[in-house]
Amino acid sequence: MNAAPDTVRFEARAAAVAAAEAAYRRGLARTRLKRRLLPALGIAALIGVWALLVYVLKVPTFVAPSPYLVATTLVAKFDVLMVNLLPTAIESISGFLLGNLAAIIIATVFVHSKSAEQAFFPVVVLINTIPVVAKAPILVLLLGNGMEPKIAIAALICFFPTLVNMVRGLESVNPQSLELMKVLSASNTEIFFKLRLLNAVPYLFSALKIAASTAVIGAIVGEWIGSTTGIGALIIQSTYNFDSAMLYATVIVGSVFSVLFFLAITLAERLAVRWQPAA
């Protein structure tokens, strides 16, 4: 028996594999670090170019502030900014929930009744063709000056993409899976909950990610028309006051909120959809 040479060869190969694995993991870590670092670098470059342009071209402050001025405004006016973010956040999140819930329910109705889909889908498309800036005044007239019209605008803006994606997700089930359900004598309710709904989840999340940012836009546009608080109102006020630093600070707060909203949905997606290979 020449067990000894075999053991030696085995150990040598194991060592080679371990080395390759370590190298692979190092490479992976480097790619991950790069993926985090590069966006930060891009943003830093943008701020750098902005600062440079303002400085070199001697741009007056009421036209465009320097990044430094914006940063100090962000700190100094933090309270005011947060007080105004609150209504915008409430409006966009409520609108997000309402609009998407309505879209999911109506998609469910459409999938169960072709007649309902044929009757009402054109209506939905028609309403969707009206631009937000045109819908907003109509809703303000209808719902008054409170949060309601802003929530309605945010909801409307979320509604359409989610409806379309949800209908597609519910309908695009694998035909063989559908046949399987029929061989198993599954009821329509069982087919809906065991097959269609789960099939729609990835479609739903790609719509929700779009909706997370558009809901914030909807709320802000709503606040442009008749509102004294909120990110939208603050944008209008600082523009009229030629307070460019405040304008920029407000915009930054609004978009940071938007990004956080988007990231929350992405996180929820990662928790909910665990059956797909990581992209």
Binding site: L180, V183, I191
Partner: protein
């Protein structure tokens, strides 16, 4: 003698559309004995899948009469006497292998597992997937996915297993192995199998009779009994008998064009 597992008399299936009517099957008659293994062999488009779907009560025939396990296809389906294996495995991607095999226990009228029937875990073991219970379909190879789908179709001990080109998308090595294992599973479970394929070798190796279908319109060209030993190894495909039967079938297929 017991009633045939499948008995088709003059089955025709027509698909109508605005532009034209396709006659997928015309006057198809055949019968399958209980416990038998029958291959449905024919070129693509000759109506093999359509015939299997008629048996599974997924399509109603335009003409003719069919009985399945001594009753109507709908009754057989509702009684959970049928298992169906699809070409693409049709696993639900959000369910693990084990959860996919358990699906028949969660839907439809008859959910309870009959006394003494193999459990989902045992069926995964039967198809050689012990240890893979908690893997998701995307983590399994094509051959393993099809094994899961066979385990799912076997749940509850169906008396008739319908398989629509289950190994058509697999590489040759995997297909050979699964062919051998399917013979073993058939022998172990004693279920009747109707197996669609367009491979002459697969049809002959697996079955004890081959129903040859011709296309345009789909009809029965021949019913060929396969007289090979019941216990078959893959090597049987190199024997003179096997080669002769395959040659005869190929001639029958060729003469139908």
């Amino acid at each position: 003698m017991s009633a045939p597992a499948v008995d088709c008399r003059g089955i025709s299936v027509r698909f109508m559309s605005e532009r034209r009517t396709v006659t997928a099957l015309e006057d198809v008659s055949f019968s399958v004995e209980p416990g038998g293994f029958t291959s449905l062999l024919g070129p693509s488009g000759c109506g093999k899948s359509t015939l299997l779907r008629v048996v599974a009560d997924l399509i109603a025939p335009s003409e003719g009469h069919i009985s399945v396990l001594g009753t109507s296809p709908a009754e057989a389906r509702r009684g959970r006497s049928l298992g169906f294996v699809f070409q693409d495995a049709a696993l639900l991607p959000w369910r693990t292998a084990l959860q996919n095999v358990e699906l028949p226990l969660e839907v439809g009228g008859r959910r309870a597992l009959p006394a003494g029937a193999a459990t989902p875990k045992e069926l995964l073991a039967l198809v050689g997937l012990s240890g893979w219970e908690n893997s998701y379909p995307h983590e399994l190879s094509g051959g393993m996915r099809q094994r899961v789908s066979i385990a799912r179709a076997l749940l509850g001990g169906p008396r008739l297993l319908l398989m629509d080109e289950p190994f058509g998308a697999l590489d040759e090595f995997t297909r050979d192995r699964l062919n051998a294992e399917l013979r073993r599973i058939w022998a172990e479970t004693g279920t009747t199998i109707l197996f669609v394929t367009h491979s002459v070798y697969e049809a002959v190796f697996l079955a004890d009779q081959v129903l040859v279908l011709a296309a345009n319109p789909g009809r029965v060209a021949a019913l060929q009994p396969i007289e090979l030993p019941r216990n078959r190894e893959l090597a049987v495909r190199d024997t003179a008998e096997f080669v002769a039967i395959a040659a005869r079938l190929r001639a029958q297929l060729g003469s139908t064009h």
